[in-house]
């Protein structure tokens, strides 16, 4: 029994220490961003590997999620004779929740894990150490550009996901199931608010992009520099990102849509 408490205590202390390291790391990343802006090529390269390479998975997933929403929404709404509001249902669920959340989860799996593995391997092969000895700060040259790229890509990917999803819902809804095309769009437009829905959705994805990139880069940088250490760090990135995304989504939703 004492062992259990000792274990618990040690575990708690360890996680606080880690949080402290992560915060310190975040501060160094943020101070390094200035030097990224002077070297746009570094950013461009990372936008390619973080954003462009996630493009396909995001669009395809978005399309299918939208189509499923259209299908399920139609079956439920048609029971109440409210098929016209299909557009509202599809768009609201995508823009408010599924767009930011699902694209962030996919992003953590696709780009986050790759970032962790890359940084972890660079650490394991002494590349980061080597840069330090060349008097080049690896945070500024390696970490900050990746962070900025992740942070910038996320809202774009989420918007893409939602937009493609809404079109997917329309294809199923009005293309296959016969919902009136005009009603699909006009109901959507009448009921979705720019400020309340679109902007809040974007804010969510910005927060998720920030947190996911932070977790991924920190886990890589903090990884034990062995094959096993890097593989564990990669797993932790995906798991911790998923928890953080879903937890933060609840908090943000409560803050944004609570008083409505």
């Amino acid at each position: 029994m004492m062992d259990f408490f000792r274990y618990l205590g040690a575990g708690t202390r360890k996680s606080f220490t880690k949080l402290g390291r992560a915060s310190y790391f975040l501060i160094s990343i943020l101070t390094g961003i200035g030097s990224v802006l002077v070297r746009p090529r570094l950013l461009l390269k990372q936008l390619h590997s973080v954003g462009v390479l996630s493009f396909l998975i995001i669009t395809i997933s978005g399309l299918f999620v939208g189509m499923v929403l259209g299908l399920q929404g139609f079956y439920i709404l048609s029971r109440f004779g409210a098929e016209e509001t299909l557009g509202v249902m599809v768009a609201a669920s995508l823009v408010r929740e599924l767009g930011p959340v699902v694209s962030a989860l996919l992003f953590a799996g696709r780009a986050g894990s790759a970032l962790t593995a890359e940084i972890g391997l660079m650490k394991a092969t002494e590349q980061l150490s080597g840069m330090e000895m060349m008097a080049i700060d690896p945070i500024k040259r390696i970490v900050s550009p990746r962070f900025l790229a992740g942070f910038l890509s996320m809202p774009l990917l989420a918007a893409l996901f939602s937009a493609v999803g809404i079109i997917g819902g329309q294809i199923v809804g009005s293309g296959l199931l016969g919902v009136d095309d005009g009603a699909y769009w006009s109901q959507m437009r009448a009921n979705l608010d720019f400020q309340g829905d679109i902007i809040n959705g974007i804010i969510k994805s910005v927060v998720f992009g920030f947190v996911t990139s932070w977790i991924a880069l920190f886990e890589g940088y903090d990884a034990i520099p062995t094959a096993e250490g890097v593989s564990r760090a990669t797993t932790r990135t995906v798991v911790n990102s998923a928890f953080s995304i879903l937890g933060l989504d609840f908090i943000l939703t409560a803050l944004m849509f609570g008083d409505n």
């Binding site: 092969t125 150490s129 330090e132 000895m133 060349m134 008097a135 080049i136």
Partner: protein
């Protein structure tokens, strides 16, 4: 200030350095001097923290006690900017080469130049080709690091380390895992670079013969202490048991083959899972010791 603490002809001086990792003392109050323009070797069995010493000299790790003076400056009292300025003049050759894997050989060598100098690209090109020529790999400039053999990667890394014309180079196990030919090439290269570029070299190695062939002065470390020092000849003739064991490669002697543990019979008779436990040498044992203590 610091300048007067170290003798004039030392580029690097280590004074009373103590460094521990967890419970284990890696260095216990050691002092070393590295003379300008000379090749000084630090030798010792694996696990004596030779790489750690280089990282301490480079300012990547902080000692528990003692100080390190490089070119008259106390490395661990420097501000970050000053440390980075100092590091531009300290080359380090990592065991793995530590080449950046997403760049060609050419770009790897050009990298420190592009970061630290504002030279035009044409000048950088000539400089890089010069450095690559010096290590005999001018023809390999368009290869990616994963296309290089271990020895070639180390030579590219050497070209990169001398790109900024440093005053010193630290070699971390330069001879490990090399075939005899590339080993010979590296030995010659280190020697000739040291004389032609007037470098100060610090070699960390456990390859006795290669190191003894080029070093001007040798320190032998064991269990956190300096157990022998002198020119290669002096070391060879040393009366110290430790040094003799190391230089002649005897399996057992003052340096034990076994990692510290409790009595063998005790361990066998009282182990918790005698038959089915997997053989996990160090972890298991330290964990057990902690539980008993």
């Amino acid at each position: 200030m610091d300048i007067f603490n170290s003798s004039q002809d030392s580029l690097v001086s280590v004074h009373n350095l103590t460094f521990s990792r967890g419970e284990k003392k890696i260095f216990d109050d050691i002092s070393l001097e590295f003379e300008r323009g000379k090749i000084t070797a630090i030798m010792g069995p694996s696990g004596t923290g030779k790489t750690t010493l280089l990282k301490i000299i480079g300012g990547q790790l902080f000692p528990n006690r003692g100080n390190v003076i490089v070119n008259g400056r106390n490395v661990h009292n420097l501000k970050r900017d000053e440390l980075y300025t100092l590091r531009r003049r300290m080359g380090m050759l990592f065991q793995s080469g530590a080449l950046l894997t997403d760049m060609t050989v050419f770009d790897n060598v050009a990298y420190p130049l592009r970061e630290h100098s504002h030279l035009p690209e044409s000048m950088i090109r000539s400089l890089v080709l010069m450095k690559l020529e010096a290590v005999g790999l001018r023809g390999a400039r368009d290869l990616m690091p994963n296309e290089l053999s271990g020895g070639m990667a180390r030579r590219v890394a050497l070209a990169r380390a001398i790109a900024l014309d440093p005053m010193m180079i630290m070699y971390d196990e330069p001879f490990t895992g090399q075939d005899p030919i590339s080993m010979g090439a590296l030995v010659l290269l280190i020697k000739s670079l040291n004389t032609t570029l007037n470098l100060t070299s610090i070699i960390v190695s456990h390859d006795v013969h290669e190191t003894a062939a080029i070093a001007d002065y040798i320190y032998v470390l064991s269990e956190g202490k300096v157990v022998g020092q002198g020119t290669p000849q002096e070391i060879q003739q040393s009366s110290s048991e430790w040094v003799q064991q190391f230089m002649n490669g005897a399996a057992d002697g003052p340096v034990h083959f076994h990692y510290p543990a409790k009595e063998y019979m005790d361990d066998l008779l009282h182990s918790e899972k005698p038959l089915f436990s997997r053989h996990r040498p160090s972890n298991d044992r330290t964990a057990k010791r902690r539980r008993y203590s």
